[in-house]
Symmetry: C2
Subunit: 304 residues, 2 copies
């Protein structure tokens, strides 16, 4: 951990050896003073569900033509990525299939534009109660049969440890560009898990992201810690399944995973991470050096 | 392949090099002359569904006390298995967690008795229209978080190639001893796939079962072959989810898989494979030597 006089206090210590600790979240989930009454595209009921569960499904938010436009942009991205050795392009272990492409809002106009979708941008502002910027964007291609799983993790745990995100004031939007079904690797979430911070004992290895983006091991909870969250959720895991065009909003600390894609078809989802301008990155709280810009924006520009 | 004068004709060539071939099934699914009118515990509607899809769910077939008795027997089995180096006990890759235990009907009275459950035994006789014996029995423990996936495969392809099962006249019963949910590694099946035999080109490696029972590679369909089956099914995969006590009956040639168990809890399912007495094993059709008796019974005794 880097110690600097201008470094904010570490509200969520992790990756510092010792044992796993489960501590209550110190930040609100809905940051607006008025809580569920905060103006914006989400109804009080939707805000209350997000507050309670740590996620919210918006079935069929995007139209067929919006989905088609994004899918076309993705096909182009994948074609460009297939022969590229660029850092922001991650491949499946032991294969050539593209697993993820990062910073997609810079790579295609359609992907930059979707971050300004009134409902998505409006929901981010409504929940985070601040101007927002894109901390990260990516596409997970999950190619058929070879698209591997993503281990259980809290995004915030990684962003705090490896990127220096100070507090829990960020929201992800997962945009389903194919029908997501139980058998093609949908997002799975533990309801209510966003209320607990699970520290991870293992110190961050050097250039950990090179490994973690293919198969994350450090920054994942122990079986016992996950057992506690699962129990608190009433032994329940929720699947974010739905038709193409559905969007899943989820809190930065919601424990989530996704299984391998067992279907023979690819399954493309786009992720956009909105962070509050007031929550911009400092130095990493649990790693020796910063991750590259394609993973963690350090020159935030508020989305207008 | 072993050539012997008393060896039956190979109706389903596989593991013989060349390319994958998809050929129509040569055997009936319902072997009784009367088809859906065959007497037994399954209704004509249930038989028709099994015939069409290649599987049938029997929700809540076993009572809570029957489930409890089997679960107790399994706990004992797992405890005995934990320190054992015996061949019929398979562990997860790179770990000590028990993945599967074979020949369980010989290891515990309760597991032997369940094979004689009137509905299970009756359904097997009704579908196979013959006296039946247990070709194989096993428990898949699928421990929480570390319980790995089972690749797509047709059981018959393996039993034909490696055990010498001549024709498609066998039925499996999967007994759910825990609630099976989309996130804890349930059985997944491609409806209608039992009507097509998918040959696998790669010749069987020596003592292949030592590898295949941990992570099957040979005897799994190509992405293209699976794509064809998936398309024929209307781009559909079915999950055999249900409460503890549910039983899934499925044809020996139904293409199936199961994903990793992403929950923190174990998920125990028992499998019983009923084979028609008239379909007893010959020499392997696509392997140099027989597999051990714990995987493939060669001295069949009809279940009474």
């Amino acid at each position: 951990m880097i110690e600097r006089s201008d470094h904010p206090t570490d509200a969520y210590p992790t990756r510092q050896g010792g044992s796993t600790r489960l501590t209550p979240r110190l930040d609100p989930v809905l940051h607006g003073k008025a809580g569920p009454e905060e103006p914006g595209p989400l109804s009080p009921t939707q805000l209350a569900a997000y507050d309670r569960d740590g996620f919210l499904l918006l079935p069929g938010l995007l139209s067929t033509s919006e989905v088609r436009e994004l899918t076309t942009a993705l096909s182009k991205l994948r074609a460009e990525a297939s022969g590229s050795a660029e850092q922001g392009i991650i491949r499946e272990r032991g294969g050539t299939d593209v697993r993820s492409v990062f910073a997609v809002h810079h790579r295609a106009d359609a992907l930059g534009a979707i971050a300004r979708h009134p409902t998505l941008l409006g929901a981010a502002r409504q929940i985070l109660a601040d101007a927002v910027y894109l901390h990260q964007s990516r596409v997970n291609f999950k190619p058929g049969l070879v698209g591997g799983a993503f281990s259980w993790h809290s995004d915030f745990e990684t962003w705090h440890a490896e990127d220096g995100m100070p507090r829990m004031r960020a929201m992800s939007a997962s945009i389903l560009l194919d029908d997501n079904r139980p058998w093609n690797g949908p997002l799975m979430l533990v309801p209510g898990s966003h209320r607990t911070f699970v520290s991870c004992p293992t110190p961050t290895p050097t250039e950990h992201y090179r490994e973690s983006l293919v198969d994350q091991q450090v920054g994942t909870p122990s079986r016992e810690a996950l057992g506690t969250l699962f129990e608190q959720a009433g032994e329940r895991i929720e699947l974010a399944v739905g038709a193409a065009g559905t969007v899943v909003l989820f809190d930065c600390n919601t424990m989530h995973a996704s299984p391998a894609n067992l279907s023979p078809r690819p399954r493309n989802n786009v992720f956009l991470v909105y962070n509050a301008m007031s929550n911009r990155l400092s130095e990493p709280f649990g790693a020796a050096s910063r991750r590259p810009e394609f993973l963690a924006t350090r020159e935030p520009r508020p989305i207008e």
